[in-house]
Symmetry: D2
């Protein structure tokens, strides 16, 4: 359809809203385009911030954030070896200059990173509470943590953590359905709902 | 690549996801934060494009697009005098350098603008068909039109136009609900659903 | 879980909300439990009415309506031979006494049925306009037609018909997501959205 | 099987889906028509059951259940004096013969009621945990509790209770938007989302 990413540079990449199918990924696991940009909006990024992207998956959030942090730094943290390969491939394809890949288990592998202004948690591998504990100790004042939850269990645990820790909390549920461009009939197909938790350190 | 809001106080404005309450506007009419960023994602902006924002309202879409078109041009078209004042105020507050305000009725006032690569229609003042006709005549090859519809009437009319004109069409419905940050209980409050129509000229 | 439909009678069948998995059906095609009861609510059935269920599929709407029309009549119209077998099996299992199966193509096969007070159209096999034309000619004054649309095409066509014919029109969109009872984590899974069109003859 | 509303004017009341505006109520607080019928479906009522409706509000759930429990008993429990008056008025208008009004605070006022097969909790007045504790002690084997939650707090607390108590749990989120029948344009207006928790005693 639209030729993008052709030449040796950024000029064909949209500055927001990279289509899901442009990423090397396991299709079912990618943060969908629409969810990704709402997530980025909730992060309230400023040009020179430090962002941790924990459970980066295919790196799609880090890569879209790259445009929004022209003077900042992004650390894409991932422990799954297959995902790590996807991230490498995608960082190269999209020429994401501010993103550093960090292989390993969170929270352990976060130790040597610079303190974050913003943290996105797309996956926690069962260590959500430990990760949040570490994040809370390192996050800058007025810092912001955003979590995408697809289970009620994660939603509940995250809200409990942030309320105990005195953060200001907003939960946004996003229900998206879309038609497929090339089908004869415009059937709406739903994504599963996502809960986007945004917590601000007071 | 992406410029920052520099002057007095503006340094705290995020590079995506400006909170609704930061805009001078009639509260009920603003394109909500979450809808705005999904709309921008659907526009698939590239750094040097020309965007028409027709029925710009408070100018919020143009202002968020300003970051995403560092080498581009944006024309915010609006006929309502009160909205025009809001746009002026917001352009000044957010220091949106690539946005030009165009006062007047579409499609008439579009005549002297440069041809667009991208067109967003947030409001059509009852002239949707005429506006689409004009846009279709001026839009670049592989250009893209995005319309936010809140009525079934607009959704139907827009789809009919684009199918007749041979565009490739995608419709995304967005249902958002969110909790209020400062209330004692986390009650989810819904926005009305929005249909985001994205049409690509073949 | 709960033993239902065991004995030779109605006593174990819930009087509303028969679980989807109790019906003989093609799983993807059944009108889901939640959608089915909202559809029945929109039909505004009274005890002695005549209901046409056009494109009855597995007969689930007719069978749930059976309880709500203790002195009425229901005609389940279906042309697909496999679906006809499902309906027979379900009518027998649920002992639906007021439901008559009508095999054949609508609108042709509607000719010999008594005039309806209520009509539900779950599927139209590409003949929506002809079916609506026939229904309109036969429907009682203050009668009511309910259509479940999953495509924008059906939604648009149905609305156009009813507006031309002078009906009062309401469209309800239903977005449902639910957790699976027996999984370890409560992941919300979405149904595709359904548009329930309710039209009242003036 | 299912009785009808007989007296003056009542013959026009449907056997399911009584319009919200037919109930004496505080408009914002009524369980909306669509939510009400999905709630009833989740209760899986059988003809001769005993239902407790705790926090009955305007009594709309009890009144719609009256049709579905032709040989059963319904206890509508409410402590707010204004709501009690609404319930009295509605029970009279709809001639709901199987519904008994119980004025007072739950769980205290539940003591003298017969044990329930089904329990619906529409409001808990801050005593959710105590009410669930009492309900758990009285509920029949294979009994079923349904709760409508509009806050994340209630959703979380209810899920925690049921998981601790070993119930099988399903959560259904319902997002409804509908057009207004008499407006010129078909604008979709959303209800706030409701979480319908259905728990089955093993």
């Amino acid at each position: 359809l639209i030729k993008e990413y052709e030449a040796g540079g950024d000029e064909y990449i949209p500055t927001l809203g990279i289509p899901d199918e442009e990423f090397a990924t396991v299709k079912k696991l990618i943060t969908k385009e629409e969810i990704r940009v709402v997530t980025l909006a909730k992060l309230k990024l400023r040009h020179d911030m430090c962002l941790w992207d924990i459970g980066a998956g295919s790196g799609s959030v880090s890569i879209e954030a790259d445009h929004l942090l022209p003077n900042g730094r992004i650390f894409a943290v991932e422990r799954n070896p297959q995902c790590v390969e996807f991230i490498k491939e995608n960082l190269s394809k999209f020429n994401a200059r501010h993103v550093t890949l960090v292989e390993g288990d969170a929270p352990g592998c976060l130790e040597n990173l610079p303190d974050p202004d913003r943290v996105f948690i797309g996956g926690s591998g069962g260590n959500l509470w430990d990760i949040l504990d570490t994040v809370d100790g390192r996050l800058a004042a007025e810092g912001r943590v955003v979590i995408n939850a697809v289970t009620l269990d994660t939603l509940t645990a995250a809200c409990e953590f942030f309320e105990n820790a005195g953060y200001q909390l907003e939960v946004t549920t996003v229900n998206i359905a879309r038609t497929r461009p090339l089908s004869d009939y415009k059937i709406f197909e739903s994504y599963n709902p996502v809960y986007i938790i945004a917590a601000v350190k007071e």
